[in-house]
């Protein structure tokens, strides 16, 4: 770290490359490297380099947590409640205990406390056991006798709000806070199953609505979406006398390590969390979880490694989900569309958990002097929600961007022209310009204008997401005496390819190629890195990677300078060599320079410093950059009004993420966000049987995820939006790419058929119902 307080002035190019860059000065820590120019002037950063572990992935060599099988490993299964709500009166494990293949049993319910001897959703863990084989564990579960006394239950969001409905929690017993990535506001009132409201406001929304020429009011609904990680949640816990090692399919090795140390009263140096291949998280794998706690307790009891992996039905029922929402939105506007008021009231359900909100989307994206929101959590007897790819803002954008599209229609202003009036963001202005041209916005017709049964339409929507940074993000870089370079951090690669991005950052700095950097991640034996959630990985770990490499290079120059008859300041690293800037022929290979190192290696460990000029906000180890991440997406759809089937033909996604580090991997991420958003818009829905309280589609065939034949043409463009705020100026993309897709499709559907759908998913039945061609649900 730079000596605290020692700063120097640097000049950075700031703005969108291709639109206009202006010089801005920043105070930066004295020990940090000079500003990077735009990507076009860089050798390796900003280039489409394949990921470093690609070969391991295509050969099946990379090991996921489910593939880890240490000697003597036991297999764990969880006994789960078959009831949506019940007292647990007794648990008889005697038969299971007598089974010689069962080596450990751990309870998840404390029977001695009546307030806690309750199950509140089908699938809630009651206990876990570990046995010598998977089949032995499954059979042993059937030996356990549980005496449940069922209670009335409610699984429907609307029904749960009625005063006479069954209560999920007794008075005073509702959760007051939540762990993980999202923190629910503490101390909110609870009445029946309804907790809240969490309020936000500015100006005077009543006055704003009264002053409006035009009022748009609508109710918008979004469904529960499950993460459907292809690798199930799971871990291999190995409790040994000398320490606990956990292989964990996790988005946050360093965080889970701390949770384990706390939960099991261990010093941090006795806890190690490791992950290599990681089969998807999307927000659901950031914490230790019930299942993690159970597996570690089983390992401790059995004195053997224990693998606990969820089955697909368990994944669907109890590994987190995106909560459902019911939003009432009122917009007040002048005749030209400029906004006078936005009011949002939202009731959402995260089952027995919290955080079923609509984020800060409506509050933050548009110029509007008067705003008020009231967000409520409604408890239902269903599996708890968790963060899922842009929590809050994804359903929030569905509501608001649909309402704004309705406003555009009401005032007779083109939706793009309306955004130009109300959206202060110059970055999104450029994104709209690019996207409109790519989709062919100019040929967009009036809503419902196509004749014939196949009606086409074009729509658009926008995205806003905070540029998150985790300041407790560290990385060690080493140059070894033979010229090899290593980078080490506990940060985990969950599929976004952070490994090659770190390699590109270091290679650029050292004048090497990415393949020459050995990146070792996913192990808490290395310096603690950031979580891979909140789209913050790249923003958190690449700046300290550059700073560390830069400091090592200074040291290497000091070693090489005498041999090259030069001052250190006259040396540059490029093309695998250390050369005199002014006399390039006077130089040596990187390896030769490294051989001059006294001792075996040079090492530097750096931690993410503050954004130059400061963060907008800091909350513990997490911070928000000054500028939000944007994005604009356009959709072209074809709707068959006889079948109700919506075919998305084209999506144009124009996004920004600061300095794009690797366009190949960014494109993959954006495809992922778009396809998840498309799937959310049209197909996915957790369905609970309201008479049994059970999820009826706890699988991958009746829970519909978009497949290869639903994929539209996806055109991607990423702006290079330089801000001069860190050593790499790079930010994230995963969540921003997921926010605008559903409303873009919904607005395109409206343009196609002239009828507005306000609820997700837009299934064929929903489309036919909107067209008045199908019986509506009573």
């Amino acid at each position: 770290m730079a000596e605290s307080g020692a700063m120097r002035t640097e000049t950075f190019p700031v703005g969108v490359v291709g639109v206009g860059l202006a010089d801005e000065t920043r105070q930066i820590p004295a020990g940090e490297p000079p500003p990077l120019p735009p990507n076009a002037e860089l050798a390796v950063i900003g280039k489409p380099h394949p990921r470093l572990n690609g070969r391991d992935k295509v050969t099946g060599a990379i090991r996921f947590t489910v593939d880890v099988a240490p000697q003597g490993m036991l297999f764990a299964r969880i006994l789960r409640s078959p009831h949506p709500h019940a007292e647990v009166r007794a648990i008889d494990t005697s038969a299971a205990e007598r089974d010689p293949q069962v080596r450990a049993i751990v309870h998840a319910i404390a029977l001695d406390d009546p307030a806690h001897a309750v199950v509140r959703y089908v699938g809630q863990p009651v206990l876990a056991l570990a046995a010598t084989s998977m089949s032995a564990a499954e059979e042993a579960l059937r030996l356990v006798r549980v005496d449940y006394r069922p209670r009335p239950f409610v699984v429907d969001l609307d029904e749960a709000q009625r005063p006479e409905s069954a209560k999920v929690y007794d008075a005073g017993a509702a959760p007051g806070s939540s762990s993980g990535e999202l923190a629910a506001q503490a101390g909110l009132p609870v009445e029946g199953n309804v907790r809240g409201p969490a309020r936000a406001s500015r100006g005077d929304v009543a006055r704003g609505l009264a002053a409006a020429d035009v009022l748009v009011e609508g109710e918008y609904r979004t469904q529960v979406q499950t993460h459907c990680c292809m690798e199930p949640h799971g871990l291999v816990a190995d409790w040994r006398p000398d320490g606990l090692t956990v292989h964990f399919s996790t988005q946050f090795t360093a965080g889970v390590r701390r949770e384990l140390a706390n939960a099991f009263d261990l010093p941090l140096d006795k806890v190690r969390v490791v992950v290599d291949g990681m089969g998807g998280g999307f927000g659901s794998k950031s914490t230790l979880g019930n299942y993690g706690r159970l597996a570690v307790a089983l390992s401790r009891q059995a004195g053997a490694p224990v693998r606990l992996t969820l089955t697909r039905p368990e994944e669907q029922m109890d590994s987190g989900n995106r909560p459902a929402t019911h939003q009432r939105i009122r917009l007040g506007a002048r005749r030209d569309g400029t906004l006078t008021a936005i009011s949002v009231e939202s009731h959402g359900t995260a089952g027995v958990g919290l955080n079923a909100g609509v984020g800060n989307f409506a509050q933050s994206i548009y110029d509007c002097p008067n705003f008020a929101s009231a967000q409520y959590d409604v408890f239902t007897h269903a599996g708890p929600g968790s963060a899922m790819r842009a929590p809050g803002n994804t359903p929030g954008a569905w509501g608001l961007e649909t309402a704004i599209d309705e406003l555009a229609e009401r005032v007779g202003v083109d939706p793009l022209a309306l955004r130009a009036r109300i959206d202060p963001s110059p970055v999104r202005r450029e994104e709209r310009r690019i996207g409109a041209e790519k989709i062919g916005w100019a040929r967009r017709h009036a809503a419902g204008a196509d004749s014939g049964p196949i009606k086409r339409g074009v729509g658009m929507a926008q995205s806003l997401w905070g540029a998150n940074v985790q300041t407790a993000s560290s990385i060690e870089v080493r140059i070894l005496r033979d010229g090899s370079v290593e980078a080490l951090s506990s940060v985990q690669d969950i599929g976004s390819g952070i490994g090659v991005v770190i390699a590109q950052t270091i290679a650029e700095t050292l004048g090497l190629r990415p393949e020459q950097i050995a990146v070792r991640v996913g192990d808490t034996n290395y310096p603690p890195g950031p979580p891979s959630h909140g789209s913050r990985t790249t923003a958190s770990i690449t700046p300290p990677a550059r700073v560390a490499a830069w400091k090592l290079l200074r040291q290497l120059f000091a070693e090489a300078a005498p041999a090259l008859d030069a001052a250190s300041s006259d040396l540059v690293a490029r093309g695998g060599r250390i050369e005199r800037r002014s006399v390039p022929t006077r130089g040596m290979s990187f390896a030769e320079a490294a051989s001059l190192i006294k001792g075996d290696m040079l090492s530097a460990t750096e931690t993410r410093s503050e954004d130059y000029g400061g963060f907008r906000r800091t909350m513990g180890e997490a911070a928000l950059a000054q500028q939000d991440l944007g994005g604009v997406q356009f959709a072209e759809v074809a709707v068959d009004v006889e079948t109700g089937i919506v075919r998305v033909e084209t999506i144009v996604a124009v996004q920004d993420c600061g300095r794009p580090m690797n366009p190949l991997l960014l494109e993959s991420q954006i495809h992922g966000g778009v396809l998840m958003g498309l799937s959310y818009a049209l197909y996915e829905e957790r369905v609970l049987d309201r008479n049994a309280g059970r999820m009826v589609n706890a699988n991958l065939e009746a829970y519909k995820v978009a497949g290869p034949r639903e994929v539209p043409v996806i055109e991607v463009e990423v702006l290079e939006n330089l801000q001069g705020r860190s050593a790499t100026d790079a930010y994230g993309i995963a969540e921003p790419a997921n926010i605008a897709t559903a409303p873009a499709i919904g607005n395109a559907v409206y343009n196609a058929i002239g009828v507005r759908l306000r609820s997700l998913p837009m299934t064929p039945m929903a489309v036919l119902a909107a067209l008045g061609k199908a019986p509506t649900r009573s």
């Binding site: 990921r51 099946g60 010689p100 291949g277 089969g279 998807g280 495809h671 034949r709």
Partner: protein, 198 residues
């Protein structure tokens, strides 16, 4: 999707653990109480499976799926289990060159047929053109569905040397990829087809 007329129901009704899930467990419990070890597994079979060109001798239970045997005793963990009921294709392997869901076939059904897993797609260190193309086009993200995808794509190219994008989409249509790799998988497969022509 069971071939050869076997279904899981058939096997369960013939095994020691038929419907007597509780009965069998009581058997074990009383044996344990008597101080003896768990009884020998009456449904175990010694078979030879031909996997990636090598004969592998293995002792397996009747109820074990090919996916479980590949991943367990054969330690070929490249084949993944995503749903265990043929809905996601993560467990895809070739049976005599045809892609199948290995979670949907019992290991005892395989017989003399040749099994090819992802570990058998490359020739030593020489990757299959589909694998090279997957790397170059970033046809993967988390990588969990990738082995199955690569095998389906490679099988397509054996059948159809000049596929269209739609042909590729159809060939991989059973695969669930939550990360959204489909567009790059299609691009990579088309590129691999081009490369093979040369």
């Amino acid at each position: 999707m069971a071939k050869g007329g076997w279904s899981r129901r058939d096997v369960l009704s013939r095994s020691v653990y038929a419907t007597a899930g509780v009965g069998a467990a009581q058997l074990i419990a009383s044996a344990a109480a008597a101080g003896t070890a768990a009884p020998p597994d009456a449904s175990a079979h010694d078979v030879v499976l031909h996997v990636n060109g090598i004969d592998r001798a293995v002792r397996i239970e009747s109820r074990a799926t090919l996916a479980e045997v590949l991943r367990g005793p054969l330690a070929l963990t490249g084949t993944k289990i995503g749903c265990n009921r043929g809905a996601c294709s993560a467990c895809t392997v070739w049976l005599d060159g045809t892609p199948i869901c290995s979670c949907m076939i019992f290991a005892v059904e395989v017989g003399a047929r040749a099994v090819t897993t992802i570990e058998g797609l490359a020739r030593g260190t020489e990757l299959h053109p589909v694998q090279e193309a997957f790397i170059a086009h970033d046809a993967m993200q988390c990588g969990f569905c990738t082995p199955g995808m690569a095998l389906s794509a490679a099988a397509l190219l054996e059948q159809n040397a000049k596929p269209t994008a739609e042909d590729v989409e159809r060939a991989i249509s059973g695969h669930v990829c939550r990360c959204g790799s489909y567009p790059h998988v299609v691009a990579a497969t088309l590129a691999a087809a081009e490369a093979r022509k040369g």
